[in-house]
Symmetry: C2
Subunit: 391 residues, 2 copies
């Protein structure tokens, strides 16, 4: 626990009420500027122009490549420790949106190793989540020719030699200064695996800007990877980061997580479940009685239903502004706002679930997204392994 | 450096004059007993009955399996940081001898990752040593049907998931208490890779006793692996250890290493080079003049040439005893003893080199010794990965 007005944010724990501006100072990242938002392909994704992605490291390099039609990639990953909720899937829909607009390569690392190291879960349980999560990732609808999915323990033939190459540049004291004392030696090593994820597109496709859209708590991984890229003089650019706030929890401010007390809206929830969860649990920015609300109005900025709409689930800026206005002036009630959010989220989930139903089995669908043998070999060779003579 | 009469022995540094008995107390291993020596298949290898292998952990389990004709395996590895010298190759010839006598499975892990983490060497240089060392390992003449060679970074598809499974059971503080502060996070993780090496035969072939014949400085790896086997309740026996003294350096007592000041006898040395190195550098237990030597005799126990013969290079016990006797009584001179040792070592190396010359390229020869796809899958499944649904 932290004292009032204090908070801690590391990749392994988020605690307290987060001051996002202060966090940028702590981490040494920059706020996303208006010019940078404008430099995104038009129309910019709501997550960008509404500043859910509110900060960045070194993003100009990536945006220049996008605008010059030069190669560029996006890396955004998944830790498979449970079923995916709507907060988990937004970065993937964002990546898919960019892929459609700019033809970006998208690399999706699935860090089953990290989750096993972190959680009281067996490999079997993590494995079951991995398979479920993979189907959800495939349901997003990436272009298989421009997308690669890496599962750390299933792609050890490329993950381990690359992580080995990078691990030498990272001291144990760097890890402990960044993350605190790791619970086991798997977590000590894991940042080298994370660096592998972030550098893999360049190791396979040659030097180019890579964007990592990621919740701000994961920024320390980026910093370590950027240091590695600096130190080891592989021919790679340091990855750029696009850092987001957390999707609000139904219970109010803070990070939405499947392990919180308040329920999360899962990708598998049906329409009824979505309405039930939002009606029963969504933190309201309205007044406690209808009369009071008609009189005083609500605060959309403190209302989870509005936040959901604003972050992702209402793409139409004018409609969103109208809802905010009506909520503030009291003509839109909390219950009505909740139902609008639930409606939009349920629509989104039905489309997602329908695409997931259309998929064949993982055995049939995944191979199109896995690294090819030539890509694996190229990555290993780029860090110094001379496969061709060994095999 | 250590004070006089002190010594330190860890897997990463050996310093001072070693008191092998004291080391056993420090490490908590047991001396090899007469009964245990007798339980080795007849005739016991000189390295055993002359107590170069002088200590053990839990070896009765292994010997019982051998004598009952039950499955058993040997794991003995190589760190490819340079050309191999005669000290490096002895455990492999010992393993081959046991394989011929008992049909033992032999697993040979090549820890290129560890050497990269430890040394100021690039992956390219380590890779070149790996390829050379592999040819020397193949030249030993193992039975490819009963032998597997694993190269950590080339077999990451099996090494990484297994090491992941084990790493969770090892805390960073265990590592630091055992090895001291690691230089980088690769070395923090490496004990999980080492445990993978030692448990791999059982994970592939089912539970059975595994013997690890190894220089005593590597014992901490065994202890960590035995703890892991205890903690994680995989269905495996804790590996047994057969612990050796160090082959004496040409320069006298201490560990023989390619990086010492005194030259080592390399597997690639020709007859002339062997004679030259021994004549010029082998530490002598004789007297400083011939007259003195004839008068007072020499001390075979302090004579490197005699030690070489006794450890490995003179299999005939009677001849060895006669040489010791003649050296002690002064009738055998230091120079004569040196030439006998050089002759035997050169003969051994010529046979080794001839077998190496008979080999085809690594690309042609190695595949017979690599893990099969079915073996890789079985090992992953044994620790909890459910490949068949993912692929």
């Amino acid at each position: 626990m932290t004292a009032e007005n204090e908070f801690t944010v590391t990749p392994y724990s988020v605690d307290g009420e987060i001051d996002y501006e202060k966090l940028l100072e702590q981490f040494g990242a920059d706020p996303l500027s208006d010019d940078q938002i404008t430099a995104f392909p038009d129309p910019p994704h709501p997550l960008v122009h509404r500043r859910v992605f509110y900060a960045e490291r070194d993003i100009d390099r990536f945006l220049s490549a996008v605008n010059a039609g030069q190669p560029h990639s996006i890396v955004t990953g998944r830790g498979p420790s449970g079923p995916m909720h709507i907060g988990h899937v937004l970065p993937f829909y964002f990546a898919k949106y960019l892929q459609e607009q700019t033809n970006a390569l998208v690399y999706i690392p699935v860090s089953d190793d990290e989750k096993y190291f972190l959680k009281e879960m067996s490999l079997e349980v993590i494995g079951a989540h991995t398979r479920e999560n993979l189907l959800d990732l495939l349901a997003v609808g990436f272009d298989p020719d421009r997308t690669r999915i890496i599962v750390d323990t299933a792609d050890g033939d490329v993950v381990y030699p690359l992580a080995t190459a990078f691990a030498k540049a990272v001291t144990q004291s760097t890890i402990e200064a960044t993350y605190g004392e790791p619970a086991n030696i798997g977590l000590s090593f894991y940042p080298a695996v994370q660096a592998t994820h972030l550098l893999l597109p360049q190791l396979i496709e040659g030097r180019h800007p890579t964007l990592v859209p990621i919740a701000i708590d994961q920024d320390p991984h980026i910093r370590i990877c950027r240091d590695i890229a600096d130190k080891q003089r592989y021919d790679v650019d340091k990855p750029s980061a696009l850092l987001s706030k957390f999707l609000p929890s139904l219970a109010g401010p803070g990070k939405m997580s499947s392990s919180d007390d308040a329920p999360s809206i899962l990708l598998s929830d049906d329409r009824e479940a979505v309405f039930e969860k939002i009606r029963a649990h969504a933190y309201s920015g309205g007044q406690s009685t209808i009369d009071e609300h008609r009189d005083l109005g609500g605060d959309p900025e403190r209302d989870t239903s509005f936040q959901f709409l604003s972050y992702f689930f209402e793409a139409d800026d004018e409609r969103l502004e109208r809802l905010a206005q009506e909520y503030r002036d009291g003509s839109l009630l909390s219950g009505e706002l909740k139902d609008i959010a639930a409606e939009n989220i349920a629509d989104f989930l039905e489309r997602h679930q329908e695409r997931r139903r259309q998929l064949g089995s993982l055995v049939d669908e995944l191979p199109a997204y896995r690294l090819t043998d030539a890509e694996r070999k190229r990555a290993r060779q780029r860090v110094g392994f001379l496969d061709e003579e060994l095999f």
